[in-house]
Symmetry: C3
Amino acid sequence: MSDKTLQLHPDRLFPTDARVRDIARSLYNEVKDLPIVSPHGHTDPRWFAYDENFGNATELFIRPDHYVFRMLYSQGVPLESLGIGRQDDAPVEQDPLKIWQLFARHYRLFRGTPSRMWLDTVFSEVFGLTQVLDENSAGHYYETITRQLATDAFKPRALMDRFNIELIATTEGALDPLAHHQHISGTPWAKRVITTFRPDDVVDASREDFADNIRALGEMTGEDTQSWQGYLQALRIRREVFRRHGATATDHGHPTAATSDLSQGECESLFARCLSGKANAGEQELFRAQMLTELAGMSLEDGMVMQIHPGAYRNHNPLVFNHFGRDKGADMPSQTEYVQALKPLLDKYGNEAKLNIILFTLDETTYARELAPLAGHYPCLKLGPAWWFHDSPEGMLRFRHQVTETAGFYNTVGFNDDTRAFLSIPARHDVARRIDCRFLAQWIAEHRITEQEGHELAYDLTYRLAKQAYKLGDA
Amino acid sequence: MSDKTLQLHPDRLFPTDARVRDIARSLYNEVKDLPIVSPHGHTDPRWFAYDENFGNATELFIRPDHYVFRMLYSQGVPLESLGIGRQDDAPVEQDPLKIWQLFARHYRLFRGTPSRMWLDTVFSEVFGLTQVLDENSAGHYYETITRQLATDAFKPRALMDRFNIELIATTEGALDPLAHHQHISGTPWAKRVITTFRPDDVVDASREDFADNIRALGEMTGEDTQSWQGYLQALRIRREVFRRHGATATDHGHPTAATSDLSQGECESLFARCLSGKANAGEQELFRAQMLTELAGMSLEDGMVMQIHPGAYRNHNPLVFNHFGRDKGADMPSQTEYVQALKPLLDKYGNEAKLNIILFTLDETTYARELAPLAGHYPCLKLGPAWWFHDSPEGMLRFRHQVTETAGFYNTVGFNDDTRAFLSIPARHDVARRIDCRFLAQWIAEHRITEQEGHELAYDLTYRLAKQAYKLGDA
Amino acid sequence: MSDKTLQLHPDRLFPTDARVRDIARSLYNEVKDLPIVSPHGHTDPRWFAYDENFGNATELFIRPDHYVFRMLYSQGVPLESLGIGRQDDAPVEQDPLKIWQLFARHYRLFRGTPSRMWLDTVFSEVFGLTQVLDENSAGHYYETITRQLATDAFKPRALMDRFNIELIATTEGALDPLAHHQHISGTPWAKRVITTFRPDDVVDASREDFADNIRALGEMTGEDTQSWQGYLQALRIRREVFRRHGATATDHGHPTAATSDLSQGECESLFARCLSGKANAGEQELFRAQMLTELAGMSLEDGMVMQIHPGAYRNHNPLVFNHFGRDKGADMPSQTEYVQALKPLLDKYGNEAKLNIILFTLDETTYARELAPLAGHYPCLKLGPAWWFHDSPEGMLRFRHQVTETAGFYNTVGFNDDTRAFLSIPARHDVARRIDCRFLAQWIAEHRITEQEGHELAYDLTYRLAKQAYKLGDA
């Protein structure tokens, strides 16, 4: 057993000034038990469709969490020793308990990181663990977690209820058959587990499988996707299918925020060139840019909310990519520009108050300089919450401090957990609620908003804005 | 009537820690009643020249304030419904009371913004209003404000006295006849209301009216402005006229901070090309760059302080520009670079201790990285205060936190209100005074400056540095 | 005498909240007396080799400190009046007392800067001065300091002991004969005063003396440095010599972080072109880029830690450079990019857990966006502390706040004083210890780390991580 008690202090993340902390507590008490609305995430719809038990602690907490093995890898822990499967099927550690022990031995590396806070919260609140994870308590942890995971109370749907998750959106590619969502279609769960349309696979011509994907898109939809018009029509058809499975939003993960507004003739020849496999990097970028504008136009037609997530340099480490594949903690943020990049799209659709485009960034320098001024003017733009590396107490505080004075609160859209780590969802929302209450408490204490405004805002930021921005019903 | 009381807490914006707040209060008490020096702004000199009453609440607070309708527009309120005149004379809302009510209905959008703080301060301190503005109190607000505006006590000169404005600088283009300043010339008001020379209209060759403006400049000055030398001479003559109307400073609003130092022959042919209307965007940028260096040279000759305000992407929204014109809240900041951009000018004049160049930015990333190191070395450079989107409590704090350690306090120049909203001037200066005192109090409490130094600095930042930097007399 | 008492408050830089301050004090009390490890700096090895007395106050505090005369120069004080020698031997002020008095008269300019805090700490703690430096106390200061400097207790080695400096690294160019380190070789001081290998002089082909340096390198090593392979071999030989004089690290001060990975044939022809003096700026940049990768490979061979310090625009002011030479306060930070720039090197060596590359930056926007994600993934990367302009209380806080959540604490390497101002070293380390304890105390008070973790981390950040990252023995 560890000699250290695991303590989740009820005032964690609150301001240290006693008077301000009291205000934060009072705001938090009113929102902490509100239902969780999770309009953007990456959980596996299979869980909610078939409601099968999760496996062991290692499978649940380590293998799928690139935050976790990224940090271990940075300190010299080989990914093989964490059981991360190799593309070449070279042997990797198979014993989940050994992997768990290795993780526990390095747990101090996470000090001060959001991963540590999420994990400790899950360990304590979901599994009732009472010691800090370390080498000594590793076995007890592994056994306690794995044993509970086998019970009915830890099945996905039971946890959905226990976690008070009102709605969760998963994310599927344009070609996904949506079989898992199909499985729950017509059941009450269809209202709580919805999909999101993410067409990067049929929009990003730099992918090796692009031409294949376009062909598959044609087969799925019966459209001639070798023609520009047929391709667009096929996208419309897939959007409609996604909407039937609850989707209210689309998602676009592009390297930059570039948009363009080409003539139809230019679009046709650019699309043909991308299909031919002869497009260079600039043409592929232009095609993605054009497609953001096309997809915005479709959103205006069909009412789907458009999420733009630019700025990740994917698979920066070729050795890790070649040995272990995508999403292994080797994606890096890059400088991102919005004011010039979005102009073609905004010139065309920016003044449409019925269009909802939610912008995200990995480049915090754009908060005050570009994103808040854009969202504080264009009717179609709203700002998504602090994202990915910035989904953390400091990151969220920087977001509010840098965005609010120019964009106000009402051009933001509440919190996204953006995670595939299902068990961490309550912990992540709890961090967001604590930090928003902390921020509001500070401004109340500085007499920048009134206490009554603070209470309204706490509710809005926790619950109402997410439902409204993602068109998820009244709040 | 609104059911909520409008409260301006005496400690607003101060630190929440009781001990630090006490220090802030004590600093603030010494500077809060100091005269307002407003060396950079955009009020209408006509007001001070003819001293006529303002119109109604809507005309005063909404129509001219792009901060206000920008936010309303971002949330779907059409500009037509706010009475913003269309270029094509299409009908817009005419009823000022209806516009005011629409504004009041959406007043919650401004929560947490500086606009809200400025407006509440004016409502309370200038008009004696005691409820929060909302749908219910809108009519009472409109009537109370409009009635008072018709009285002698609310004429511009009376407000100048009431607001304790020692000096205010307006801004006029190079071709402005300065008729309103002429009207007060020779009266005691000429010392309190001065002009600023802003030659963008005859320096920015990307404007459609550039060639016309150069011709007009020639007519005004009797110089041959079709020649490079005549053009420069004409600028010198206009500067002299502006100085006779009190101007101590020039102002330059360029898209970037680019400067250049071309040979005379290159200047002549570049100028000719710009005049011919055949210059491309790069040549127009080069001409603006060259002119910053030329104008710095003139400042060295005639002693005028040079203000450089780069980095705004003007009129980003073409629909808004075409329908409603300039300055409608659709200007966006862009990334701005100074270290390379200013080098040609600095190579030529950077070591002139008699030259005063005040740099501003919309790109806060340059505070610690470029602006503070430049101002902390070059004798000619000083840093203007947090500007435009950053003229806010958080923006001002970021400025001081990021600039002070490298540039010190004495390479900064006090506060600019930079506004056309005359009634908000005391509120804006009050925010700056509170935030500076808060910042100083924090550093006193952390024993980074002494209490005595803090008191001297509070005076300097509020009053002395503005007078000194803008050459407005002893302080 | 000055009428103001010089007070170094024991709680300086600590949080103002009493509860948090108590935690900070308790952390600080445990680390304040730990030995100083100074693995990166620019003191003169001659001092420690021959142990001669320093000269007068002016020679010690003003002439070598570009932070000091940079600030004075920015406010119009000519460098000549500060006794800074001119390249053309034009007369400059020679009287050290007059220079000291000029400095004292402008001492208020440093309010709020780290220079002021370092200087006051030295004045008080090293020289026992009790009044603030100003015009009145200048003579007393000069006399008190200069008198003490002549005593045995103020000889360099005595100060090393008094300051409790366990180890100090100096920095020498690749061609440096290391005579001073040679002098102490074999004595106990050889363990406390080590060199660092800084090969910019033989790597940066934009220097006028590059070809000469390469020739000299050949002569020193007996290698044919006109050939690519001979040049590389010569570098290996010099590294070996430096290691014999204690060096555990190399240092690289490049304009950008660019790296490249050319074929051997490309390297040979690029090197030849650089040697010929015909390389253009792009080729010189490419050569520096290639050399970072080559030097990383050598570090992997010989175990030396590699420090990369990119982003300084050196000698920005040509007049100051021509009259006074390098390092006169006219170096400016520039925007720096890492994610793309380092990719060639990382593609080759990024996954080597035995390689230690420590990254620094002058562009704080990269902390959260690029550096923390890179260091939080690549086994070879660690982050150096806040550097140069950012080696300040605010700069250090921004570093910790922006880096920790993604990189953790254990991908950072403790503090570097990076100074040639020997007497300020304890003051600089003391600022770092205070700020780290303040940061940790805040996170303890917010229940983000436990008190026990905070105490371990305070020790790690103060002492252990520096020893470990620079391979300086067990801690």
